[in-house]
């Protein structure tokens, strides 16, 4: 189990926003292995927004481009709800995609399992720290 400072993904409700089925399935497997609960895996922006609305996840893994559609609206929705997320994208530079993504945590495709996990934990830790402080 990947654990960062005592934080684990176990029991964390995760929303996967990914249009490539194979990638999404792979990601599900990785998260399930870690004990996370995959709330949903959605391939479109509208599905994602609906999923967030239906049950806000603890953490979101998010592709930047869903079959040509930008996921910026999702990011905005997540930011609005202070839901931590990690962007998984083939784009090297987020800023080139959209300025509001500057500084967003990111893992580049094709992703490395450990990299993805540690980034998820890092985001989760930060988020929790913020929650404590607030």
């Amino acid at each position: 189990m990947n654990v960062v400072q005592g934080v684990s993904l176990a029991g964390v409700a995760v929303l996967i926003v990914e249009d490539e089925l194979i990638v999404a399935m792979d990601m599900e497997d990785v998260l399930l292995e870690q004990g996370a609960e995959v709330l949903a895996t959605v391939p479109t922006v509208s599905d994602a927004l609906a999923a967030i609305e239906a049950q806000p996840p603890d953490l979101v893994v998010l592709d930047l481009n869903l079959d040509g559609q930008s996921t910026v609206p999702i990011v905005q929705a997540l930011n609005a709800r202070s839901i931590p997320f990690v962007v998984v994208s083939g784009y090297g530079d987020l800023r080139a995609a959209d300025p509001c993504l500057a500084g967003a945590p990111m893992v580049t495709k094709p992703w490395n399992r450990d990299q993805l996990l540690s980034k998820l934990l890092e985001v989760l830790t930060e988020s929790r720290g913020d929650a404590h402080r607030s």
Binding site: I22, V23, M25, D26, G90, Y91, P110
Partner: protein
């Protein structure tokens, strides 16, 4: 302040002397040196260049008018003379004939009149130019320096200058240089003297001069005296008057020199006009009143440069014309000064004489001669100039008028008296003597009566004929012997016996007369008068002429004995009638010598032999008788007769003597005329000499010229050969004068044809009428240019110009032929190149412009102006009609970096290449900008083209690359996931590989299909065919696909490819396709569900091994189910029927627009 002038005159041999002089002269004396030489008129002179080499001082030839600068050398130019006026020097043309030019004199005169002082230097030369000039210089107070004739190459010019007596210093060239320097310094000192303070010293000097020479100049005008003294100071190089006074005291010669300087004569026409007025009315008029056949004779003694004599001539001429009388008028004008006489003879005076007489007189008697006036022949012939000393030489005689002005004042009184006597002797009775304003004839009032005392006009008193006064002894002439001591008139009675004896002797002593060696009565005793008896005619004081006639013969004899032989004589007694009684008188003539006096005198004593008591009758009655008386009477009668004849012969003799005297006088004057002719010959000789001298100069200069001409000739020859310009010189008749080899060929002429008319020759030019064109140029002098060809096809430029001589006359034509064949060819090539360039410029797709950068005061580039643009410019920029406008005018708001960049290029002159946007023009340009012209022009050439489209394509490509990278990464992520998922189910590597590669191939196939449609859509049937192809080898008939195809989205295509792959691989491994008899049917069934176009894919296997549902969901199953929803947005339903697997997959599709 005026620059002091040093005039240097030189002639033959002068160039060497001048070089030597200037080499020695310091260059800081502050003098302006003016060099006058005799130059040949028609010959350029190199004197200035020669002197420039000898001296550090600047040398300037004077051809116009120059301001004099200190330490400069001015050189006379040929055919001109120089004059000074103010502080400038002017050149003007000569007015005299060549032989008569005296530029040195002329210049020196101008120095003296313009400056009043200066330094005159006479160097080597033949002739006498400068002679009168140095006098003028000296008279004006300048200093005269002369080269030692012994050293001079030609001695006559220095010698003549020295002969005037005006030379202050005579030295060698080296000495002259030193002297000039010293004089210049002393002149500087003199200039700064305080004249008021020096007045005392001046008085001392004048006083000393009086003591030394006996002449008191105290009454002379002070400025004159001061000027002369200052001049001597310069000569003696004294710097103060007191020093000079000391010098004068210690050096007796200096007193004489100063005295001489004081006497330098000045005269001008009609000096004292009132006096001349009086002369006309009171002397000339009366002379004309009783003029005889002899005409009028006048004598001007001391005529100097002749003004006096000519003035008189004018007056006489005028009077003669007034009276319409034609009488011979002869004026003798004499002087000692040869130089002055030379000038006088010339009768030529500077224009300044205008001030001295009326315009009418100038008009009437003079001929204008440039800067001079020359007397007309009429006047000139009236005056005869001769060298003559009033004191030494016999005078002219039978004169009507003597003018002797300002001569007597210099003479001692005694000598003056003798001169008056001489003048009296020379003048006819009742004729006139005209003196200077400072002179008077009052001392000779027994001879002259004043006609007008104010004007110093005197008239001879009639008086007895006298022998000509002899003045030869001059100062040594003895005083007239004092008369014998005369006893007191009365002696008181009762005196001593000695006195008584004296008285008695006086009483009874015979009457006596003392005569001098010329028998003139010197003294008479009281009673001697009775023996004198004047006869008629002129009065005489000669004893032998006035004694009683009876005694004259005896006395003459006796006086001869006494005076010549110093023998006393006692003559026999002669009977005389004295005081009414006849007395017998004998003469005792005793010579008297008085010791040192060499001149004999004689005492004539009349011894009274008592009354002649013996009457003739009584005589007859004497002891000798009648015969004797008769004899005596006869003898007496004979004697009377002899006496008469003697007396008559004596008269004859006297007349003869008189005639001889007149003849002598005439001979004298003829002699004078011969002399003057000789003078004139002398003058001519000098002229010839000066001409000769000029010729020498010309000759030497010609020699140099000849050398340079021969060099020039060579140069010319080489030049014509080198330039290959055919040149043809033709004269006014178009005869060949000269030609160059290339012309020879064109005109078929050879060297021997010079002088023949050009028309005689055929030429090889393809042109008619060349002769006419040449004549036209000869006529109108307008140069002509014609292009023509010769028979060999060569092109020529023929230029015809008039042949213009240096003095601007047309003496023919010059024809030149320049072969321009090559030039023509080059020109046509050039035209072609230019045309090409223009075409390039016009057709160039790139914009091109030439701009001129504009900078503000801080040198910042602010704007630029278009100078030139090509047609593409408008296409590239959209701007039109830009020439002459600036960028700001055409389009405000252009980015600053355009100006900065162009400004930098204009300043640094370094070309730059750059790309930049011009937002206002909506363009993006690639630009190559380069400097044009020189840096100051600020011109920049700009070559540019719009690259906006390229830029956009680049951007698009960049985006695409970016996108591609994204896609590849996505695809890789998919592959990664596929590998992960595949690996989960499968243990062996071989199995994994087969399974993984199969899935990859399915994806790859879908990609291929999508690529065919540009990733727009995929045909469902094609997808199925393609996906199953990998598994249907040999089983083609086992698979049946039916139904209508639909178009899938790319995502659906990819998803369906994976699903079909999973289904097919399962069928091949485990299902219907694993056995030969197995069958697979795929049915496509489109249907409509609530308005959404849907399709159902039926997968039906049959004939295969019996199917059992799998124990757990493998990846394949999961993938089919998930992909159906996730990717196809549909649903899959798998049912494991025993006869074979069945799958129903529903999904929506986009209907193709109709």
């Amino acid at each position: 302040m005026q620059t002091p002038v040093c005039g240097i005159g030189a002639s033959a041999g002068g160039i060497g002397a001048l070089q030597a002089l200037f080499r020695d002269l310091p260059d800081d004396l502050g003098l302006a040196y003016v060099v006058i030489v005799h130059l040949a008129p028609d010959h350029p002179s190199a004197l200035a260049e020669i002197l420039a080499m000898a001296s550090k001082m600047p040398v300037a030839p004077v051809t116009d008018s120059l301001t004099l600068q200190p330490n400069c050398i001015y050189v006379i130019a040929p055919e001109s003379e120089l004059v000074i006026s103010g502080n400038s020097i002017q050149a003007s043309a000569f007015n005299e004939a060549r032989g008569r030019r005296t530029p040195i004199d002329r210049f020196f005169h101008s120095i003296s009149s313009a400056r009043g002082d200066g330094i005159a230097v006479i160097l080597t030369g033949a002739g006498s130019d400068g002679t009168s000039g140095v006098k003028a210089i000296k008279e004006a107070g300048g200093v005269v320096l002369v080269q030692d004739p012994a050293e001079a190459e030609f001695a006559s010019m220095p010698r003549n200058a020295i002969a005037t007596g005006c030379a202050d210093l005579v030295a060698s060239i080296a000495g002259l240089a030193v002297q000039i320097a010293e004089v210049a310094r002393s002149k500087e000192a003199v200039r700064s003297l305080d004249m008021d303070a020096a007045a005392n010293d001046l008085r001392r000097i004048v006083g000393f001069l009086h003591a030394r020479t006996g002449h008191d100049f105290a009454s002379y005008k002070r400025p004159t005296v001061r000027r002369r003294v200052l001049r001597r100071m310069q000569v003696r190089r004294m710097t103060s008057l007191s020093a000079y006074a000391e010098y004068l005291k210690e050096t007796p010669e200096e007193a004489d020199d100063l005295f001489r300087d004081m006497l330098i004569s000045v005269t001008h026409f009609f000096r004292d006009p009132e006096a001349f007025e009086t002369l006309t009315t009171k002397a000339i008029a009366p002379i004309f009143d009783d003029v005889g056949a002899d005409g009028i004779r006048a004598w001007v003694a001391g005529c100097a440069t002749g003004e006096e004599a000519y003035s008189l001539a004018i007056l006489l001429k005028e009077e003669a014309e007034r009276r319409k009388l034609k009488v011979p008028i002869q004026i003798f004008a004499t002087d000692l000064d040869e130089g002055a006489l030379g000038m006088a003879r010339e009768g030529r005076y500077p224009n300044s004489i205008q001030a001295e007489m009326s315009a009418e007189r100038l008009q009437r008697f003079f001929l204008a001669d440039g800067s001079h006036y020359r007397f007309c022949e009429e006047i000139r012939d009236m005056v005869l100039f001769a060298t003559h000393s009033v004191l030494k030489d016999p005078p002219f005689l039978r004169l009507d008028l003597i003018s002797c002005r300002n001569l007597l004042i210099y003479l001692e009184r005694g000598l003056q008296e003798k001169l008056y006597a001489l003048f009296h002797y020379a003048l006819l009775p009742q004729r006139y003597l005209f003196l200077g304003s400072a002179e008077t004839a009052d001392v000779a009032n027994q001879m002259f009566a004043a006609v007008d005392r104010e004007s110093r006009l005197y008239c001879t008193k009639p008086r007895p004929a006298q022998p000509m006064p002899i003045l030869a002894q001059r100062y040594s002439a003895p005083d007239v012997p004092a008369p014998p001591a005369r006893p007191a008139a009365k002696t008181p009675p009762g005196t001593a016996p000695a006195v008584l004896h004296g008285l008695a002797l006086e009483e009874i002593a015979p009457a006596s007369i003392l005569v001098d060696e010329r028998s003139q009565i010197v003294h008479l005793s009281p009673s001697a008068g009775r023996y004198l008896r004047h006869s008629g005619g002129t009065f005489s004081d000669r004893l032998d002429q006035v004694v009683c006639p009876e005694l004259r013969i005896d006395l003459g004899y006796a006086l001869g004995e006494a005076l010549l032989k110093a023998v006393p004589t006692l003559t026999p007694a002669v009977s005389l009638e004295i005081e009414g009684a006849r007395r017998r008188i004998a003469l005792n003539v005793v010579p008297i010598r008085d010791g040192h006096r060499s001149q004999p005198h004689a005492l004539v004593m009349f011894l009274d032999g008592g009354p002649d008591t013996l009457p003739e009758s009584a005589e007859a009655a004497t002891a000798d008788g009648r015969d004797r008386d008769e004899q005596v009477r006869r003898l007496q009668a004979e004697l009377v007769m002899v006496r008469d004849s003697l007396s008559s012969s004596r008269n004859d003799h006297e007349h003869a003597a008189q005639d001889l005297r007149v003849a002598n006088e005439e001979l004298q004057s003829i002699n004078e005329e011969y002399r003057s002719t000789s003078e004139e010959l002398e003058t001519s000789k000098e002229e010839l000499q000066s001409m000769n001298e000029e010729l020498q100069t010309v000759n030497s200069e010609l020699k140099v010229k000849l050398e340079s001409i021969s060099t020039a000739h060579n140069d010319l020859r080489n030049l014509t050969a080198a330039t290959e310009i055919g040149t043809l010189f033709l004269d006014g008749e178009l005869r060949i004068r000269m030609f160059t080899p290339s012309v020879a060929e064109l005109f078929n002429i050879v060297d021997g044809d010079v002088g023949r008319p050009l028309a005689d020759f055929t030429n090889r030019l393809i042109r008619q009428g060349i002769e006419e064109e040449l004549r036209q140029v000869l006529g109108d002098h307008v140069p002509l240019e014609i292009e023509l060809k010769d028979q060999r096809g060569r092109c020529f430029m023929m230029r015809v110009r008039p042949y213009r001589t240096l003095d601007d006359r047309i003496e023919g034509v010059v024809v030149t032929f320049v072969d321009i064949s090559t030039w023509r060819l080059t020109e046509s090539r050039l035209e072609l190149t230019e045309h090409r360039y223009q075409t390039l410029f016009d057709s160039l797709d790139q914009g091109f412009c030439v701009i001129e950068m504009l900078f503000d005061a801080e040198d910042r580039p602010t704007d630029y102006r278009f100078l030139e643009v090509n047609p593409a410019f408008q296409r590239q920029t959209g701007l039109s009609d830009v020439i002459g406008k600036t960028m700001h005018e055409l389009q405000p708001g252009i980015e600053d970096y355009w100006f900065e960049t162009y400004g930098r290029i204009a300043r640094t002159h370094v070309a730059e290449r750059f790309e930049a946007a011009a937002a206002k023009l909506d363009h993006f340009y690639e630009v190559y900008a380069f400097p044009l012209g020189s840096p100051g022009d600020n011109q920049v050439g700009v070559l540019f083209h719009d690259i906006r489209e390229r830029k956009e394509a680049e951007r698009e490509r960049e985006m695409l690359t970016h996108e591609l990278s994204h896609r590849v990464k996505n695809t890789l992520a998919v592959v990664q996931g596929l590998a992960n998922q595949t690996s989960r189910d499968i243990g062996s590597v071989d199995e994994f590989r087969a399974s993984f590669i199969g899935r990859l191939e399915a994806l790859g196939h879908a990609h291929t299909l999508l690529l065919d449609s540009q990733w727009q859509s995929a045909d469902l049937v094609k997808l199925i065919d393609g996906t199953l192809k990998a598994y249907d080898s040999g089983k083609r008939e086992a698979i049946k696909v039916s139904g209508s195809s639909v178009r899938l989205t790319p995502k659906q295509g990819l998803g369906l490819a994976l699903i079909l792959h999973e289904l097919a691989s399962n069928a091949v491994k485990y299902g219907a396709l694993s056995v030969p008899e197995g069958r697979l049917e795929i049915l496509l069934e489109p249907r409509d569900a609530d308005g959404q176009a849907m399709v159902r894919l039926h997968w039906r296997e049959s004939g295969g091994p019996p199917v059992t549902p799998p124990e757990r969901k493998g990846f394949g199953t999961r993938l089919i189910e998930r992909a159906s929803t996730y990717e196809l947005r549909g649903r899959a339903n798998l049912s494991f029927e025993p006869e074979g697997l069945r799958a129903e997959i529903d999904f929506p599709f986009e209907q193709e627009p109709q």
